[in-house]
Every structure is written in structure tokens, then in C-alpha cells.
């Protein structure tokens, strides 16, 4: 007899263990690995509230201002009475105006103004400038895998102990200059904060959130197998819990057919004829824009565990992901030409941590003559393939499989550096093999 899988109970057990270590553990650090959409933010908010309730003043380190503002809003939603400090920069409009409407959120550019508040939140960049303050007893470091080791070095003196939360499968931090000289050192400043932390403190407790609430049952197995082969997770919902439907029937065109395929199976591949193209491949960019336009025109509606009735898939629930900024700019221009507004179009770096109903992805290797380390990076594909709650449509030129076979990884092996597995080559093949089953050719 097999036990009935209860994702809620399993996730709750993991969360309880994490909170027990955070509140009562003896180690100075705790690391929590969270796959896409596994409730990382929820965990951060809950841990913050419990620490505050236990009388431990807390600092929270996030990576971007948007993440900080989002956390402040979530904290205020959960506990409007909690005194929260938002430490911000001296720039113009340093924080989201929404925060002005929250009664117990104090905002300041000086850490001394926020002393004594239960929770003080800011970006790693801002925290790095805070000097000469009494260290906090506790800290939470959010998106710790996207934080660079040198950024942690700058802030680690501000706290005694910390909870590090992040997604190991997303994009690694990068530097704009070469850092090979330090490769293999435990404190390589260009590595992620977590790898440095664990290299120096290998015995820290490590936890894992086991359930993705974002990814549908159609996506979780693929993303888990391709990007997290040794730390599998599953989706919190089952097949049939989520449905995507259209008010307008297909007109038989390739964009409509790939939309139907994606609505049906959760994945769609719109394949253009093989060709070497410039980065802003005009045909592929137009195909992406057309798919988005048809998705909105056909009145997409999403049914999920969140509400009993279908919810319209509006522009703000749709995202387009690309590898490069000029590609994103080209897609934005193409969408504007088709009269579509309000759709988030951005690179993988900037889509990290965000969630949509449907995503349309321009494949990083589409039309390329070569497969560089940048385009093969596992995290890039993982981010692009794991932002959606319902369906993901990939637009790509044919021939990427052959391209991959012609370009095995040739990065130099650095002594002392842990080899990341799976590598981008392997992960790309896994995803392509799956997408091939949901292929629509255009022109068909």
C-alpha cells in the first residue's frame, strides 16, 4: 500500500524543521535550498515574524530593491502592527510608494534612525555601507545563491547568526571582469555567498523545501529532473488541478496551435526553420510577439486551486523571457507594434524570483552558430523554464540539438572548484528532448 502524498504536510514538516533550527539551533548559520516557487518568500516572512515574536531583533538582507519592498509589504500584510524599518539608498525614489501607506513601516537612509525596530530590511548593497552599529543577533539572507561572496563579506560583520535562503538552480552571480585568479579559493569573491559560507562552515545544517507551489504538475518533473537531479521536488498540485482554456477557437495558425498544445500539456515548442541569425532574429522576435498577441486575443482563462472560477489571463499575468537585453528590447518593440502593452519582457536575470501564468521564452541558443558558456548556463534555462503556473511556450530555431552536439563544454577545469552538475549541455538536452514532444513547426 502506498501512502497518499500530501504535499502540504510534507512542506509543513520541512518548514517546521527550519524554524526549529532558526529559533533554537546552536549553529551560526542555516542554509535552505528552495526550488522555483517552493514558498521561499513565505518562509522568509514566517521566520521573520517568529524571530520578532520571540524578541530577537532581526535584519533582513535581500538583493534588489524590488525584493526588499515586496518583503516589507508581505510582512505588513501578515502582521500590520509589526514595527518594520526599510533602510533605503539616497537615490531619488529609493523605495516603492506603496510603503508610504503602511503605518508601522519606518523608512530612512540612515541605519541609526531605525535602531530598535523589530525588523530592518534592506539590500545587500545598502547594508554594506552600514558601519559602527551594534551587530544584530539574527539575520535572514534572501536569494543567497544570487548574492556574491564579496557582498556577504561586506555585511557579515553586522550579524551574529543567519538564515540563508535561496534557489541553487538559478543564475549564479557574475562579475564583469575576469576572476579566474581566485578560482578554487574557498573565498573566491566572484562565487556565490552560499558556496563560500559552506566551504568555511561545512557542518551548517542544510534544509530543502520539497514542494513547488508554482510549477504545475506538467512542469515540476521536467524542471526537477533537468536542473535538480539530486534534490528532486514535486509540484503541490496534481494533473487536472490547473487548466488553461481559450474563449476563441484556434484559427489553425502555428501560434494558435502551439497555444493549444501548451494549454493542453503545459509545454509548447514553436519551431522556426534552422538558420543562423543575429541575436535579435526578426522572425523569431515576431513569432514571440504574435504568440503573446494571440494568447491575449483568444481570451485565455486559467483555472487553478486559487479560485473555483476561471480567471482571465491578462497581460500582467504573461511574461516574455530572453537571454539578452537587446532581445528583450526587440520583443518589446514588436509587441508595441502589435498593440500589446503590460506584458513583462525581460532577461532571465531580471525575471528571477517572479511568477506568471504563462511565459513565452525565446530560446537562448536559437539561431546561434556557437554555444558559449553564457548561453549554456544551466541557471539561465532554469529561470526561463520555471516562471509559469500554467504553461510555457518556447520559440526556437530548429537545429539546437545538433548545435549542442557540435559544442561540448570546453571550459578549463579549475582546481578546487566544485563541478556543477548537471552542466548546461546536459540540462539543455533534457529540456529539448521533452519539448520535442510538444512541437509545432512554423511555417507548418
Amino acid at each position: 500500500m502506498t501512502a497518499v502524498f500530501d504535499p502540504g504536510a510534507q512542506a509543513a514538516r520541512a518548514t517546521d524543521a527550519i524554524l526549529a533550527d532558526t529559533l533554537g539551533g546552536t549553529e551560526r548559520g542555516i542554509v535552505v535550498d528552495s526550488p522555483p516557487g517552493a514558498g521561499k518568500s513565505t518562509l522568509v516572512v514566517r521566520a521573520a515574524l517568529e524571530l520578532a515574536a520571540a524578541g530577537h531583533p532581526l535584519m533582513v538582507v535581500a538583493q534588489t530593491n524590488a525584493q526588499v519592498d515586496d518583503l516589507v509589504v508581505r510582512l505588513a500584510e501578515k502582521d500590520p502592527g509589526l514595527p518594520v524599518g526599510r533602510l533605503h539608498s539616497n537615490d531619488t525614489d529609493p523605495y516603492d510608494k506603496v510603503l508610504d501607506g503602511l503605518a508601522n513601516v519606518r523608512k530612512s537612509a540612515k541605519a541609526s534612525d531605525l535602531a530598535g525596530l523589530d525588523v530592518v530590511i534592506s539590500t545587500a548593497a545598502k547594508w554594506a555601507h552600514v558601519k559602527n552599529v551594534e551587530p544584530w543577533g539574527h539575520a535572514i539572507v534572501d536569494e543567497a545563491y544570487q548574492m556574491r561572496s564579496d557582498a556577504l563579506l561586506a555585511v557579515a560583520g553586522l550579524f551574529e547568526r543567519a538564515l540563508f535562503v535561496g534557489d541553487p538552480g538559478q543564475l549564479d552571480p557574475f562579475s564583469i571582469v575576469g576572476a579566474d585568479q581566485w578560482a578554487g579559493l574557498s573565498y573566491d569573491p566572484s562565487a556565490s555567498a552560499v558556496s563560500t559560507l559552506l566551504a568555511h562552515n561545512p557542518r551548517l545544517p542544510q534544509h530543502r523545501l520539497p514542494v513547488s507551489w508554482r510549477l504545475p504538475a506538467s512542469a515540476a518533473p521536467l524542471v526537477s529532473d533537468a536542473f535538480y537531479p539530486y534534490t528532486p521536488f514535486r509540484s503541490g498540485t496534481d494533473h487536472g488541478d490547473r487548466r488553461l482554456s481559450f474563449g476563441v477557437a484556434s484559427d489553425g495558425s502555428a501560434p494558435d496551435r502551439v497555444l493549444d498544445e501548451a494549454a493542453d500539456s503545459g509545454w509548447g515548442l514553436l519551431e522556426l526553420p534552422a538558420r543562423h541569425t543575429p541575436r535579435t532574429d526578426p522572425e523569431a522576435v515576431r513569432a514571440v510577439a504574435l504568440v503573446v498577441r494571440r494568447l491575449l486575443d483568444r481570451g485565455g482563462a486559467a483555472t487553478s486551486e486559487r479560485s473555483p472560477d476561471p480567471v482571465p489571463v491578462t497581460a500582467d499575468r504573461v511574461a516574455v523571457g530572453t537571454a539578452h537585453r537587446d532581445q528583450a528590447a526587440a520583443v518589446r518593440a514588436a509587441l508595441a507594434e502589435l498593440g500589446v502593452t503590460g506584458v513583462a519582457v525581460d532577461t532571465a536575470n531580471r525575471l528571477q524570483g517572479r511568477e506568471f501564468d504563462v511565459t513565452v521564452v525565446l530560446h537562448p541558443l536559437s539561431g546561434r552558430p556557437d554555444a558559449t558558456a553564457f548561453h549554456l548556463e544551466t541557471g539561465r534555462l532554469c529561470v526561463l523554464a520555471s516562471r509559469h503556473r500554467h504553461a510555457c511556450i518556447v520559440v526556437c530555431r530548429a537545429g539546437v540539438t545538433e548545435l549542442l552536439d557540435e559544442h561540448p563544454s570546453t571550459e578549463p577545469v579549475q582546481l578546487g572548484v566544485t563541478v556543477k552538475f548537471p552542466d548546461g549541455w546536459e540540462a539543455n538536452h533534457a529540456v529539448l528532448a521533452h519539448l520535442a514532444e510538444h512541437r509545432v513547426r512554423w511555417p507548418g
Binding site: R28, G29, T92, D93, A125, A128, H129, K131, S149, D150, L152, L153, A154, A156, G157, S175, I176, V177, G178, A179, Q181, W182, L185, S186, Y187, D188, P189, S190, A193, T196, L197, H200, N201, P278, R325, D326, A329, A333
Partner: protein, 535 residues
């Protein structure tokens, strides 16, 4: 590769000549650079074979090692190299100008300005290729931990007096060469590749001879065929007419010429040692000297073409006027040189084998700042570089069509004029994207406020809101707001870079990074002597 450099390469292929990718010189070249063409021994890392060095292109100094595996000869070579390089360095050490620097007072913790010396110029070192820079680093690493008999009377193999000092200087130069835009130690190939695009692959661009063939092809021949000759053409004995720029040598040279010559030298040495009377010794010494001379002649022949190529490359580069902001970066190099001079003089130990966590983070941060600054400065100095950024949507040139006065919504309203501009370029502007222009050499910030439909049709106009540099009063300072008819370069990247945050002192390294390095006062011990040091 950016679109404009791809275009330049395509044009180079079509025309058979390298295409300029810069209109000004983006690195500072001193009047008297010290050129170093080093050679290394195949199969043995860090065993120098010879070098041409000097500041006079007509009279390079040739240094050779007749038997590269002989440690005594190697030390003699390094001692000679120190005598060739260090006087050049020292000539700059005492020509100083007064300067000011911000320093933190260790007692009060306050930032104060202190009067310090800044060397008026710095010695510049030029090597042929990027591999040459690596070799300079390797030489520095192999020398700086050596001890002289004076420093340590017990050391079994004392180094000649000035060798460790040369090691420290070469290490400093090798490390400085990693800072984007620095000019203390430069590779000729990097310099040429920065200013010209050829029609060959970037791998082939590392070949100095082939690179020069594209940039300065002989009359009547295409760069491609001249480059092919430079790479492949051999004489009757199978030797390359354009030997590799080193430090590695051509295997055909090693096998057919160098190895027999070294063997002859070894034989002469053995027989000299075995000589039984003075007469025989004299004759055998003559043989040894002849063998030595033969090796010197061989090495002179393979380094001289590279030596001349480096100087030819410098001639070509000097035809370009220096970029306005290159001087500013050279000043940083002078600070770097002065700083190391002071560290040597104050008796600090040699640079450690590995950076500690704080030093590594500091270096990375300062290099990232330098990289961003270099990219911005090159674009501001050079219309051709700016064109590349414009093509990439990171800058645009626009004519001002209208200026409307507006004010910020605060208790003390400040001017926030709205400037409407027309451009046919396609900058990547999003809501409230910041753009910058240069106003009297300093950046002025504006933000993108939206599109406006022109009355005469045509592409939409851009509306920019000026944010700063207009003075403190309610009316903007004269000249600080664009006027209709102005044509202005706007960039989406910042012109200046803010420095990063101050990191903790190495003694305060936090637990996440392993705590403070070593015990207090810990210095690196010299390299232990291993079996491999004794042949």
C-alpha cells in the same frame, strides 16, 4: 562581440586591410617604454631561455641562458635582467610631485587630507603578447620569495642581490595589468587589437606578426595573404621567417637549431671540466665560448623580428592622438607605482602567494569599477566607440526641439525641466530610465519621461526630465538646461563610477569567510627547497 566590431571585421575581410575601431589612443604610452621580449624553454615551466630588453629600439640588450636547466645560469640571467630593468624603474622613483590623499586617521577614525608624494611619471613595460604578460607574472612569482645571502646567511642557494626585488616589481606589474584600462604593463597585441579590427579570428589576432600584417600590409598585398605568410612562411632550413612572439619558441627551431647548440655547449663544458693541463683548458674554453656565442646568435635571430614588430606596432599606435581621459587613468597607474615604491621602501614583505578574502574582494571591486569606467570613458573620448554604443541602443544623439519648464512636487520645488528631443536612433529606454550627458566635463542626469507625437508626423519624440546640476535656486543656472536646436549625446550608462563599500580589515574577516587569515604578524616563508631544485 558587438555589432559594430562584427561589421568592422567584415569590412576588413572585404577590403583586405584592418579597419580602425578607435579614432584616438585609449591607453597612455610613455616616451620611453621599456620593451621586454622574453623567451622560455619548452617543456619546463618558468625556465627562461633568453630575452631582449631595453628602451632603445636600435640597441636592445640580449640576455641568454646557455643551459636553461642549470640553476646557476638561470640566476645569472635573472641578475642580469634585474640590472637591465631595475635601474629603469628606479629612475622614476625620485622624480615626484606633491599630491593629496584622503586617509583615515587610525585614532580618531576621521577622514583627513594628507600631503603625500606622487611620482611624476611611471616606468612602462611593454611585452609582445598576452602570453608575455603571463610570463612576467611567472617570473615575478619565481623570484619574489627568494632570499639573498644578505637576507638569510643560511640559505643554501642564495639568490643574487637584486633578484627578489625584481620579482616584487614584476609581480606588481603583472597584477596591475589585470586592472582594466591600466597601462603599466601592456601587451603589443592587446594594444593593436583594441584599436584595429582584422579579418581573421581573435585567436589569430594573438599572433603579433599576422596582426601587423593586417594593420600595415605591404603595398600591393592583401592583409590576409601577408598574415598567412607571417604565420607559415619558412626559409630553406625550415625556420619560420616570422618567429612566434614568445615566450614559447617554434618546435622546428628547438629541434633543429637550439637543441644541437645546447648539446654542443654541454659537451664543451664537460670537456673543459675534464681538462688536465692549462693548454688544453685554454683550447676547450675557446670551444665553450664559441658554443655560447652560437646560442646567443640563435636567440638574437629569433627575438629580433619580434622586437622590431613591437616597436613598429608602437609607431602605428603613436599616430593616433591620445584620448582625453587616458591621462586620468595613467594618473591611477602612477599612484599604483608610487604605492608599491612606498611598500618596498618601508620594508614590507613580498606580496603573498594568495590574496586573503578581503584583498581578493577589494581587487575584484576595484577592477569592476575600473572596467565600467573604462567603457564609459572610451565612449566619451571617441566618436567611433560611441557609435558602437549608439548602435547597441546604449547611447543616442538627439536634437532638442522644445524645452518646457516644470518643477518637482516638494516643499521647496526645484527645477525639473522637460526637454523634448528628436532622434532616429533606437535607444533601449524604459519607464524612468536614467540618461546622462556631459555638461562642462561633468555628467548631468535626466530621466526618460515618455514619448510625444510630433506635429509633422514621423517617429515619436522623446521627452526627458532633467534632474540635477541646475544649481540651488529656483531658476536653473544659466547654461545648465539644453536649448532648442542643441544636438546632445545622451548615454544610458553612467559616466562616473561610485566606489564600492568599505570592506572590513583583514583582521576583521567574518566567520562566513573563515575568520582572520593566519596569526598576527604572520608572513609567508620563502619557498622550501625541493628535490627538483637540485639537478
Amino acid at each position: 562581440m558587438s555589432l559594430i566590431s562584427t561589421l568592422a571585421r567584415l569590412e576588413a575581410v572585404e577590403s583586405g586591410r584592418a579597419r580602425p575601431t578607435a579614432t584616438v589612443l585609449h591607453r597612455h604610452l610613455t616616451d620611453r617604454p621599456l620593451v621586454l621580449v622574453p623567451l622560455t624553454t619548452a617543456g619546463e615551466a618558468g625556465a627562461p631561455l633568453g630575452a631582449l630588453v631595453g628602451t632603445d629600439r636600435e640597441a636592445p640588450r640580449l640576455l641568454t641562458v646557455s643551459q636553461p636547466r642549470d640553476r646557476d645560469l638561470r640566476f645569472a640571467f635573472l641578475a642580469e635582467l634585474a640590472e637591465a630593468v631595475l635601474p629603469h624603474m628606479e629612475a622614476y622613483e625620485d622624480v615626484v610631485e606633491p599630491a593629496e590623499r584622503n586617509e583615515t586617521d587610525p585614532e580618531t577614525g576621521k577622514r583627513t587630507r594628507v600631503e603625500v608624494e606622487l611620482c611624476a611619471d611611471a616606468p612602462q613595460l611593454i611585452v609582445p603578447s598576452r602570453a608575455g604578460i603571463e610570463f612576467v607574472r611567472l617570473l615575478g612569482r619565481s623570484m619574489r620569495f627568494r632570499r639573498t645571502a644578505e637576507e638569510d646567511p643560511d640559505t643554501p642557494y642564495p639568490a643574487p642581490a637584486r633578484v627578489p626585488l625584481l620579482g616584487r616589481w614584476l609581480t606588481h606589474y603583472g597584477e596591475r595589468a589585470r586592472v582594466p584600462g591600466s597601462s603599466l604593463l601592456l601587451a603589443a597585441t592587446d594594444l593593436l587589437n583594441r584599436h584595429w579590427a582584422t579579418g581573421q579570428s581573435s585567436l589569430e589576432d594573438q599572433h603579433l606578426g599576422a596582426l601587423l600584417a593586417w594593420i600595415d600590409a605591404p603595398a600591393g598585398e592583401s592583409g590576409a595573404s601577408a598574415a598567412l605568410r607571417a604565420e607559415l612562411e619558412r626559409d630553406g632550413e625550415g625556420q619560420l621567417l616570422c618567429p612566434p612572439a614568445g615566450p614559447a619558441t617554434d618546435p622546428a627551431f628547438d629541434n633543429r637549431l637550439l637543441a644541437p647548440a645546447i648539446e654542443k655547449y654541454d659537451r664543451a663544458r664537460t670537456s673543459l671540466a675534464a681538462a688536465e693541463d692549462g693548454l688544453a683548458a685554454d683550447a676547450r674554453l675557446a670551444e665553450l665560448t664559441a658554443a655560447e656565442r652560437e646560442i646567443r646568435a640563435l636567440l638574437a635571430d629569433v627575438t629580433r623580428p619580434t622586437w622590431d614588430a613591437v616597436w613598429r606596432g608602437l609607431d602605428l599606435l603613436r599616430e593616433l592622438p591620445e584620448g582625453a581621459r587616458a591621462e586620468d587613468r595613467w594618473t591611477r597607474d602612477r599612484w599604483s607605482f608610487t604605492g608599491h615604491r612606498d611598500r618596498v621602501r618601508s620594508g614590507e614583505p613580498p606580496q603573498p602567494r594568495r590574496d586573503d578574502a578581503v584583498t581578493a574582494a577589494q581587487k575584484l571591486a576595484s577592477r569592476e569599477t575600473a572596467q565600467a569606467q573604462l567603457e564609459a570613458q572610451e565612449a566619451l573620448d571617441d566618436p567611433l566607440v560611441l557609435a558602437g554604443r549608439r548602435l547597441a541602443g546604449e547611447a543616442f544623439v538627439a536634437g532638442v526641439t522644445e524645452v518646457v519648464m516644470a518643477y518637482s512636487e516638494s516643499k521647496r520645488p526645484s527645477p525639473r525641466p522637460l526637454v523634448t528631443v528628436r532622434t532616429d536612433e533606437h535607444p533601449h529606454l524604459g519607464e524612468r530610465t536614467k540618461v546622462y550627458r556631459s555638461l562642462e566635463g561633468r555628467p548631468q542626469t535626466a530621466e526618460f519621461a515618455g514619448y510625444a507625437e510630433p506635429e509633422d508626423g514621423g517617429p515619436p519624440l522623446l521627452v526627458l526630465r532633467i534632474l540635477d546640476r541646475m544649481g540651488r535656486s529656483k531658476e536653473p543656472a544659466p547654461g545648465s538646461v539644453p536649448e532648442p536646436g542643441d544636438r546632445i549625446v545622451w548615454t544610458l550608462f553612467e559616466h562616473d563610477q561610485r566606489g564600492g563599500p568599505k570592506l572590513p580589515d583583514p583582521e576583521q574577516t567574518p566567520w562566513t569567510h573563515g575568520g582572520p587569515p593566519g596569526a598576527a604578524g604572520h608572513t609567508e616563508s620563502p619557498d622550501p627547497v625541493t628535490a627538483e631544485d637540485l639537478l
